[in-house]
Symmetry: C2
Subunit: 205 residues, 2 copies
DNA sequence: GGCCCAACATATCGGGCTGATATATCGAAC
DNA sequence: GTTCGATATATCAGCCCGATATGTTGGGCC
């Protein structure tokens, strides 16, 4: 699933591994603390597969095509800032390829649905159309409901009631219900069409 | 951390791998879905280290010492139930050793503090004395506070505000605060001794 | 009886992830 | 001018997961 994160970030701007990790941390926060030990191999893998390419590399590499898609002004500024008289260090700046964009769409559709995977997908929802978003949200809700059911069954079937185990399960139930309610709100926001932070076209409150 | 789970379960009763997994699922619920691919190697590892021993094995093994410490009547009953005229199948029933008990204490003190590790430790709190429990709870609270702080900083430093990323972070903040409150209640229950046995908290939302 | 199927039971393997470690460059402080 | 911390890439051991293999046991069914 780290590949999803890499492609999602690279879709916005070309970056090298080290920067990638920082952006990732910024976007996903504590949800995904990617380590270098998985980041670099993943980048190598993706390059082998043709999902990303090295856009700029080594000391004083010739800057290739200025844009791959529309860069935010920030990224462009950053790129120009990075141009000291002495070339950059040993960096490999990666960019996403058309094949990579395809791969990104595939990865978004991947059935993996744990907290981490879902968090990543949500972070890149802006690249999806509404039906896809709704599909992912519904699937997440379904698996949360499954989890809720399973925990409840475990609580019910419990003979020896250790207070700590009980506390653990009750908290799990509570947290899961919170998550479900949250997903519900996201779905509502998605279906209650158009902008709802501006003029409330359809809903109250 | 799977070793902690194994030892914690084995401390209660001698079991073979398959049963162990079921017990684990029951105690930890969806928090720790241990797979056989990690369970059996872990058992082999623990046996190599002398933390567990094979108490009974293969078809019609002679039943060794009836008790390793005080067994709950349930476990004893279970053990006697397991004695059909035709010996059991190819099973390896494991039991914890004194070295294993020591290892269990070490593992409880381990600094790992993610949701999974903490959940496991909490599930085995009954084996700890109160100071240890409080230490673990305080540590967990501290790391949750760190996480909260980090997420808040990320939200504040955010220039481009993607609504989905924002939703993700806000939900993370909310969940973390919930967790902190929960830990707070556990600490209170631990320090506010005796007296309050039931629901003393009118849970907010 | 004879048959099949689901659950029981153990084990291994590939591939991916984490944490530790190695290596080297750059900027800035001292 | 050198020490130090941030930047930057990479590899390695060890562990975990999911898939897969291999067999056993018990029960339902005709």
């Amino acid at each position: 699933m780290i590949e999803l994160a890499i492609l999602g970030i690279l879709k916005e701007s070309n970056l090298h591994g080290y920067e990638l990790k920082k952006h990732l941390r910024k976007v996903l926060g504590p949800l995904s603390n990617v380590s270098f030990g998985s980041l670099y191999p993943a980048l190598a893998r993706l390059e082998r597969e043709g999902a990303v390419t090295i856009v700029e590399s080594g000391p004083d590499a010739a800057p290739p095509m200025p844009m791959t898609g529309s860069l935010t002004g920030e990224a462009a500024a950053f790129r120009s800032r990075r141009r000291p008289t002495r070339g950059p260090r040993n960096r490999k700046v990666y960019g996403i390829t058309p094949a990579g964009e395809t791969r990104l769409v595939e990865l978004m559709a991947d059935p993996a649905d744990d907290e981490r995977s879902f968090g990543m997908k949500l972070a890149f929802f802006r690249w999806c159309d509404r039906p896809t978003r709704l599909r992912l949200l519904e699937r997440r809700r379904a698996s949360l409901l499954d989890r809720l059911e399973e925990t409840r069954k475990a609580v019910a079937a419990r003979d020896q009631d250790d207070p700590y185990v009980r506390a653990l399960m009750e908290h799990d139930t509570e947290s899961t219900m919170n998550d479900i309610a949250w997903i519900g709100r996201l779905i509502a926001r998605e279906t209650g069409d158009e902008g709802l932070d501006k003029e409330t076209t359809g809903g109250h409150r």
